[in-house]
């Protein structure tokens, strides 16, 4: 029938574009894993190499993977810790303050994150406000180029990503549900746990996904706040491409990031599917 042909044609240009310019490149990355770096910096494919895999062990990539993973976990937990109560608080507001708070949170969400990372850099530099504040308690001279700065910087940039989805799912919980719970003798704590928290889980999961995955593959933030010595998966990958010209290794690490991401998404969505009230 003509209508369905038409509908198919609608999607064709977009699908073709993505196949050529997204799917194909991803396949390329996959094949580059099996090349090897020639002395001139090009990649050779005359046979199937496993050098990149070997280099993962030789170049101490495993600690980097672990570090990135741990950092991502810490960042996500921190965002959850501060972000959930924030979303919860906004939900209690009347509409006016609610939307104003949303506006305040959304602005950083989409404004230039380079600028925001830089703003944070100011705070943690040698004479920065935060450094000065902390030097009262500890001995630190400069927060810049420390893991601590990187973690806080990521929290700084990704916090809105956690808040917005949680708020969105909290908003969908009707007050009548909470009232029924109270009517059925649940105290405030139980109401929160059994009703509110469980129902906000989709938002929490979305928030975790939107925080954990960028943290895992972060490059800009560690680069700016951690310096060139900072070794996270993101930096390491970029290093292989731009400086070391070791594309096979870079591709392999990119793929590792991708696999982590896929596993994380899968686990999280299975977790969501299993929850029942």
């Amino acid at each position: 029938m003509k209508i369905s042909k038409f509908n198919n044609l609608l999607g064709l240009p977009g699908v073709v574009f993505l196949t050529i310019f997204f799917l194909t490149p991803s396949l390329f990355i996959f094949s580059y894993i099996f090349g090897t770096r020639t002395p001139t910096g090009k990649t050779s494919f005359d046979k199937i190499y496993f050098d990149s895999f070997q280099q993962i062990l030789d170049f101490n990539v495993l600690p980097i993977i672990i570090k990135s993973f741990n950092t991502a976990v810490i960042v996500t937990i921190l965002c959850l810790l501060f972000g959930y109560p924030f979303a919860y608080q906004i939900r209690k507001f009347s509409n006016k303050y609610k939307y104003f708070s949303l506006f305040l949170i959304s602005i950083p969400f989409l404004t230039n994150f380079l600028a925001r990372t830089y703003a944070w850099k100011i705070l943690v530099s040698k004479n920065g406000l935060l450094t000065k504040l902390l030097s009262i308690f500890t001995d630190t001279e400069s927060l810049l180029f420390t893991d601590f700065a990187v973690i806080l910087g990521m929290v700084y940039v990704y916090l809105p990503f956690m808040i917005l989805p949680i708020f969105s799912s909290l908003e969908n919980i009707e007050d009548s549900l909470l009232e029924s719970a109270r009517d059925l003798y649940a105290n405030p704590f139980k109401t929160f746990y059994y009703v509110t928290f469980k129902l906000s889980l989709p938002g929490v999961i979305a928030g975790i996904v939107l925080t954990f995955i960028p943290s895992l593959g972060a490059y800009i933030i560690p680069q700016i706040l951690g310096g060139s010595k900072a070794m996270y998966l993101g930096n390491f990958t970029v290093l292989q491409y731009i400086q070391a010209s070791n594309w096979p290794l870079g591709s392999l690490v990119s793929l590792i990031i991708l696999i982590f991401m896929a596993i994380a998404i899968n686990i999280l969505f299975k977790f969501e599917g299993q929850k029942n009230l």
Binding site: F6, G11, F17, P25, F86, L110, F113
Partner: protein
Amino acid sequence: MNVINRKLGLKLNYFFVLLFIYLPIFLMIALSFNESKYFNQWTGFTFKWYQQLFENQNLISAFNNSVIVALSSTILSIILGFGIALFMFRVKNKFSKTIEKFIYVPIVIPDVTMAAMMLVFFVFLSNFIDLKLGTLTTIISHTAFNISFVAVLIGSKFTRKLKVLEEAASDLYANNFQVIKHITLPFVMPAIYASVILSFILSFDEVVISMFVTGPGSTTLPVYVFSMIKKGITPVVNSISSLMLIFSLILVSGVLVLSGKDGKI
């Protein structure tokens, strides 16, 4: 736990988070007007750091490149993304269901991975056709992820209600084009406006992918600023960062106003 303590705790957290987010921003904007180069002393109010921006040729051409890339990739992604969204809405077979799942990949993929992918791909292509890393490759790369955002955003507006309206229109003699023109487009217009702004912002702000796939002379603004930041903290970085922030702010406000008119996104 005491009820009052809990309420207080929540409120404290609320203000703390807001402070946490906005203090660095205000600081940075304030410092961009600081006479002194050093940020621990305030020596006076000045516009000179902003003036220097406009004298920096490299920066201005980077800005122009960013605008060109953002505009082009936005236009391209809106057209292609709208088509995909409409396709997913109207066609329900195995193929469209697969697309529905995979359309999210460009959204969640880490930018480092995507940057590497595109670089590898373009370099390979350049063996066969005369393709250099530059504005075109950047536009293509940005479009590649923007399409997904557009498709998902516009797709979220395709509801049952729209389906009934489209059927009513074709029942009233409207052919495919007429249905789209008179019914579909007006119905999803808010999402289209939001997509335009979102695509533009995402492309304009994009750093890592651009870093990989641009070439000499086609640097984008974020890439240029990034290299400045890596070199250290100079007041000029303050001013350009403040400008970029405010620029995005205006665009974001636009998104929120438009989606507010229609309801939540």
